[in-house]
Amino acid sequence: MTDDTPPTADAVTCTGLTYAFGGSKAVDGLDLTVASGEVFGLLGPNGAGKTTAIRCVTTLLPVPAGMVRVFGHDVAANRMAVRRLLGYVPQQLSADGNLTGRENVALFARVFDVPRKERAPRVAEALEAVGLAEAADRMAGTYSGGMIRRLELAQALVSSPRLLILDEPTIGLDPIARTGVWEQIMAVRAASGMTVLVTTHYMDEADQYCDRVALMHKGQVRALGTPGQLTDELRDRRGDGSSPTLEDVFRDVAGSGLDEGGEFRDVRRTRRTASRVG
């Protein structure tokens, strides 16, 4: 797992990833492997540490050597190589409302060193791919939430990343807009074979679009597998003939607790609250 063999390497490997804000560990010994080419869903309740883990992978938070690799490159040692491979859409809406849609995307073409001559067509192509060609020359400040999310997707895609990292790409979107965003992600992935690492609070999305998911709680992975494996496993464990959904798996992990002999835990079902803040 530690030898440097980029061509065959997994997209992301976290080995005992730990990150603390002050005294509290937001990510606490996270072990995770995202295979090249898959759509990997990182699930878990608010405050589980998903965003923090992602910010470690994206080089935004400093981590010690050996904890995180992206396509074989150690994030601590080789930031630049990692950044070149990434497309990132953070949890909060992050398009610049004082620029037009096209200018927003063109900025990312520039900072990713897309050759000058290719920029205009690549920008147009990215805007086309997310269905914003019509609105491209309007100020992004006038876009709806769904349009901004798609614009951010275009910004992330214009550099043709090998790994696309999306932190709650469908937060605050209506069902149609959600489907729209996912269809665009899946279409680009089908065409390019890029890897997608995504977090979401919508279990139906994870079930439908993710090849594998990890359920995080308190900074650790508590369940890992394909959505089918996780629901099957819970069904077998319950053995009461019910057929649990991924949401039941989520409640099982986040609400009661798979860890034995740990701290005293509240076993009431936690109610999911949609958070719009990072």
Binding site: L60, R84, L86, V89, D96, L99, L107, V111, F112, G278
Partner: protein, 243 residues
């Protein structure tokens, strides 16, 4: 980065107009009053004229010193976060932003120049000297913008940065030769003025626009070094903002 700022300026120009008000007030009220009282030894030129380059430097500094707020806003809105995850080096991002602040400063300087001319200040309109003025203003603003980003990297919140910015702008302004010659200052103030890049900016602007004796090579050297140091410090601290 520069391109982006120009695009924004094109989309919204109100900023330009509102920012012309303060320097106009300085020139009209302060300039005219002291022109009459005539107590400041300006080396033979009317105080109004003496003040104009000082106000160009001061008003462009005021814009630049709050540039960090813009960076914090970009951080809070996720724009900066995304830029930090691109292969563009921090120094290039900061340099781009610093010179974008410089571009705003050029526009501001032009506005003050026009106001000054309307008030009857005799300025040099020699294109080479104006070009020199642009270079000086851009370098000065780049330094103060980087200073602001550096403080933003330490303070990390908008309110704290506002506080620090407000606390240092006036001292920077008064502890410089913008309003009065350093010769009339007490020694301790003269020392501060001598390490204050604003003094060199004002000195250069006076030399260029009024033809007063100025040490232009020294002024340019100080401003270039200050801008380079500023970019280095700001890019070292930029990453902290995203944590």
């Amino acid at each position: 980065m520069c391109v982006v700022e120009l695009q924004k300026l094109r989309h919204d120009r109100t900023e330009l107009y509102t920012r012309a008000i303060q320097p106009a007030l300085w020139l009209v009220i302060f300039g005219e009053t002291f022109n009459r009282i005539n107590v400041i030894p300006t080396g033979g030129i009317p105080y109004r004229d003496y003040l104009a380059p000082g106000i160009i430097a001061q008003s462009t500094m005021f814009i630049a010193i709050f540039y960090g707020i813009h960076i914090i806003w970009e951080r809070d809105s996720g724009v900066l976060t995304k830029l930090l995850v691109t292969p563009t080096p921090r120094a290039a991002l900061v340099a781009g932003k610093a010179f974008a602040a410089g571009v705003k400063a050029i526009v501001q300087a032009m506005v003050v120049l026009v106001i000054a001319a309307l008030l009857g200040v005799t300025l040099s309109w020699n294109p080479l000297r104006l070009l020199g003025m642009i270079v000086v203003v851009v370098l000065g603003s780049a330094f103060f913008a980087c200073l602001s980003v550096t403080i933003a990297g330490i303070a990390r919140t908008r309110d704290r940065l506002m506080g620090i910015g407000q606390a240092i702008t006036m001292p920077l302004f008064f502890a410089s030769n913008a309003l009065y010659p350093t010769a009339s200052m007490p020694d301790w103030l003269r020392v501060i003025s001598a390490i204050n890049p604003l003094s060199y900016e004002v000195d250069a602007l006076r030399g260029l626009l009024l033809g007063t004796p100025a040490n232009l090579p020294l002024d340019f050297a100080v401003l270039v070094v200050a801008a380079a140091l500023g970019i280095t410090a700001a890019s070292a601290l930029l990453g902290r903002l995203a944590r």
